[in-house]
């Protein structure tokens, strides 16, 4: 009898895995422990794919874990009086459980290509809205000045306070001065490593105004945790007014950046 109880106990422990696993994912959104708000136009694709994979893996997870529980429950040596089934496998089953996952995975692989291409491959044909240069431990920003061109003497230089217009494509030119960093905008579903020696284009379109975090997501040294910026999305008119104000401040408070600085940023 003691043996039977142990079978019940361990069976229930393994049953707790799918039960509590599903419960954790079901409860988390109610406590705001879930995907942060998405204000981009492409983010919905990514989130939909996340939910699709969550549903798919969720079904497989529950099915396999419940099967495991059921076998533990049913084939406990303490209760079953039949001898163990003498079987070395099943060709049919092997074929079935090879073909079905293969087809599913292949479908998943092809299905997602478009979303990836949208975010990382179909670059809009435009000049950079802003250049973001990462360095230990800040985000240096450079907007084209009145001439509309980056890399000239009248560029606007700022740190950590990124402003961008909403409802239009923006193109960020991402660079690093020193080590690897990663430009992570959780609310825009954007992440891209900044690599010294490379200029990497990053593009997106925000559809809602607001102020959000810029997070460094690639280890960049002791101060990695505090490499924090803020991004403010606002309508075009307000964005331009802000640019104008910052530009005036720069003209008033500091001489144009010296040659050494712009060399480093190139």
């Amino acid at each position: 009898m003691r043996n039977r109880l142990s079978g019940i106990f361990w069976g229930l422990l393994f049953l707790a895995v799918p039960v509590l696993g599903v419960a954790t994912f079901a409860i988390a959104p109610a406590f705001d422990h879930w995907l942060p708000k998405d204000v981009s136009t492409h983010g919905a694709q990514i989130d939909a794919l996340f939910y699709f994979i969550l549903a798919l893996t969720g079904v497989v997870f529950v099915a396999t874990e419940v099967a495991l529980f059921w076998f533990i429950w049913k084939y406990d040596a303490a209760t079953t009086d039949r001898p163990a089934t003498y079987i070395h496998g099943s060709h049919t089953l092997e074929v079935v459980w090879t073909i079905i996952p293969a087809a599913t995975l292949l479908f998943l692989a092809i299905y997602q290509m478009n979303a990836w291409a949208d975010v990382k491959m179909r670059r809009p044909d435009m000049s950079p809205t802003v250049e973001v240069v990462a360095r230990q431990f800040e985000w240096r920003l450079r907007y084209p000045g009145r001439d509309g061109e980056l890399g000239t003497q009248d560029d606007l230089h700022l740190t950590n306070d990124l402003h961008l217009p909403i409802d239009e494509d923006v193109l960020v030119q991402l660079k690093s001065m020193d080590v690897l960093h990663s430009f992570f905008l959780p609310n825009v579903r954007i992440k891209q490593d900044a690599v010294p020696g490379m200029k990497i284009p990053v593009w997106f379109k925000a559809r809602e105004a607001g102020e959000f975090d810029i997070v460094c997501a690639e280890l960049c040294g002791w101060g990695h945790y505090k490499m924090k910026g803020r991004v403010t999305f606002e309508p075009r008119a307000r964005f331009e007014a802000w640019l104008e104000r910052k530009y005036a401040e720069q003209q008033a408070t500091q001489p144009p950046p010296d040659a050494g600085d712009s060399l480093a940023a190139n």
Binding site: H33, L35, A77, F184, P186, D213, H224, Y225
Partner: protein, 606 residues
């Protein structure tokens, strides 16, 4: 019955017939028997004890990491005094060092050497019916090359600036530029040298395992009669042999960048912390390609042997043949083959050409397939069995249950668009802890409880084993399952304090919960340690075959003497003949002669 292979027969004639110990004689005898031993079993146990000690160190490092994440900048109890920070709280550079060394210790000094070094060494000759490894001296050296690594890693904690803090992936330019971090000096250099030593050790082991398995099988032991443990070890050895040289070369390139002023990994015009380093003209991404070309196959090096051992343990305690032996072998081979062409999935966000990312995404999706096939076959194995709930079996069942989670969460990261959001968040931390801790470590514990009687001649205490299992299982899931939720919020890994971000400021209570679970998980290991050492001396004496298992090691004495077998094992069948209809007992050992009368005679003689 297939006739024995020629090679195996040739070898079989030289197997010693009785345990033959070297003549006794003072300190020289002690050194050659227990320290510089060439006996694969002693070397295996040396690996086991060393890696278990490092397992403890790695676990304590993890606790310190968890402390900072749960209660940033608060005084660290007990350990705080040891690292003498101001008032016992940790500095951010200390935190980066902690997670770097936690991962480095766990991967290079625990998981890889405990699987291949401890279990590979101990089990390969015994399970194939050989008297020792093909190259005993090389085998001894493979253990002793771990010591420079132990010393280099250990010493690096005490040099100026502390141990390496560039992450276990050691990405340049952070890792190559001395000016880029407080520990960019000797800590990182010692780390690279230590890594090289681990590589030498693994390579010596790998050559030995391949040779031994190919050439020294007992008569009748064909490749397709090998237990899955040996298949796991064999494929792992092949992976090591082909992938390691790349890491070793890359390590020396990074050393050259640091010490000789070369610029393999640094572009021109770099300014790090206001210092202009070396020659430039290199590419930071080159390191990532070389590093992951080894370290992705290394992920399989860290799980295939555990998969093999779990397969053997499941069949033994389900009293059933392994479901789909050949598909299992082919999927291990498939994982190994595909394992060489998926390294780029670590680099989806790295700035690598996104078109190349698509190629790696497809190969990564495909590698989920052999893993799925293995899982279904494990379920098939326990279906219709007669399950005995030993501690070893519980850990093996936990391996299957947890590997399902680790395998499925991998699909999220493999999907490149989703990876944009969850890359370098706690989602990936959850994923690899489910594979490596909830997977491999469960497999290792299953194996320790399973083969302990063979190693020490006594069985471990089952009651305390089950208490150890229960607590570990609960706390482990409390620690790691919740990491998926952090990942869904986008909580980044490797931040000393993330709560100043608006997006993450509300996650502290969940992190505190996880840290409490982690503390419970480490504390539960006290039970394991006590059981382990107590049972070594006072556990119930085990016979040759306490679990009624089929494979060759169970025909040898427990523990086996020098030379392993006191008779010449001859193999008549595969390793999984449990519950054969019409057979008197429920297991037919690989050595039991085919006809029934002879089987009875053999039984009597054991």
């Amino acid at each position: 019955m297939t006739p024995p292979t020629a090679a195996a027969v040739d070898h079989g004639t030289v197997t010693v017939s009785a345990p033959a110990h070297a003549p006794k004689g003072g300190i020289g005898h002690f050194l050659s028997t227990y320290v510089f031993s060439k006996d694969h079993k002693v070397i295996g146990l040396q690996f086991l004890f060393s890696t278990l000690v490092w397992f403890l160190i790695g676990g304590l490092l993890a606790l310190a990491v968890r402390w900072q994440i749960a209660w940033p900048w608060s005084d660290v109890p007990v350990l705080g005094k040891l690292f003498a920070q101001e008032g016992g709280q940790m500095a951010p550079e200390f935190y980066t060092m902690l997670f770097t060394m936690h991962a480095s210790v766990m991967i290079f000094l625990v998981i890889i050497p405990i699987l291949a070094g401890a279990f590979g060494n101990y089990l390969i000759p015994l399970m194939i019916g050989a008297d020792d490894m093909a190259f005993p001296t090389l085998n001894m050296l493979s253990y002793w090359f771990m010591w420079p690594a132990f010393i280099l890693f250990g010493a690096s904690f005490f040099v100026e600036g502390g141990a390496a803090s560039g992450g276990w992936t050691s990405y340049p330019p952070l890792s190559t530029n001395v000016a880029s971090s407080p520990s960019g000096g000797w800590g990182q250099t010692l780390w690279l040298l230590g890594l090289t030593m681990v590589g030498v050790s693994s390579m010596l082991g790998s050559v030995n395992y391949m040779t031994t398995i190919i050439l020294m099988r007992a008569p009748g032991m064909t490749m397709f009669r090998l237990p899955m443990t040996i298949w796991g070890m064999f494929i792992t050895a092949v992976l090591q042999a082909f992938a390691l040289p790349v890491l070793t070369a890359a390590g020396f390139m990074q050393l050259a960048d640091r010490m000789l002023g070369t610029g393999f990994f640094s572009p021109e015009g770099l300014v790090v912390n206001n210092a202009v380093p070396g020659a430039g003209g290199g590419q930071p991404l080159l390191w990532q390609h070389l590093f992951w070309f080894y370290s992705h196959p290394a992920v399989y090096i860290m799980i295939l042997p555990a998969m093999g051992m779990v397969s053997d343990i499941l069949t033994t305690f389900a009293r059933k043949p392994l479901f789909g032996y050949r598909p299992m072998v082919y999927s291990v081979a498939g994982i190994a083959g595909l394992g060489f062409i998926v390294w780029g999935h670590h680099m989806f966000m790295s700035g690598m050409n996104p078109a190349l990312g698509i190629t790696f995404m497809v190969s990564t999706m495909m590698i989920a397939l052999p893993s799925a096939v293995k899982t279904f076959n494990w379920l098939g194995t326990i279906w219709g069995g007669r399950i005995q709930f030993t501690t070893s079996m519980l850990f093996a069942l936990a391996f299957v249950s947890m590997f399902i989670i680790g395998g499925l969460s991998g699909i999220f990261m493999a999907a490149t668009p989703v990876d944009i959001f969850i890359h370098d968040t706690y989602f990936i931390v959850a994923h690899f802890h489910y594979v490596l801790f909830a997977g491999t470590a469960m497999g290792v514990w299953a194996a320790i409880y399973f083969w302990f009687p063979k190693m020490f001649g006594r069985t471990m205490n089952e009651f305390w084993g089950k208490v150890h299992f229960f607590l570990t299982f609960i706390f482990m899931n409390g620690t790691f399952f919740t990491m998926h939720i952090l990942g869904a919020v986008g909580f980044p890994r490797r931040l000393a304090d993330a709560y100043h971000y608006e997006t993450f400021h509300h996650l502290q209570p969940l992190n505190a919960f996880m840290t409490w679970c982690a503390i419970g998980m480490v504390a539960s290991q006290i039970i394991f340690a006590a059981n382990f050492f107590w049972s070594m001396f006072y556990g119930p004496v085990a016979g040759r075959n306490p679990w009624n298992a089929n494979t060759l090691e169970w025909t040898a004495p427990s523990p086996p003497g020098h030379g392993n077998f006191d008779f010449q094992p001859v193999v008549y069948r595969g390793p999984y003949e449990y519950s054969v209809p019409g057979c008197e007992k429920d297991h037919l050992m690989q050595t039991d002669p085919p006809n029934a009368a002879a089987a009875a005679a053999a039984l009597a003689s054991h």
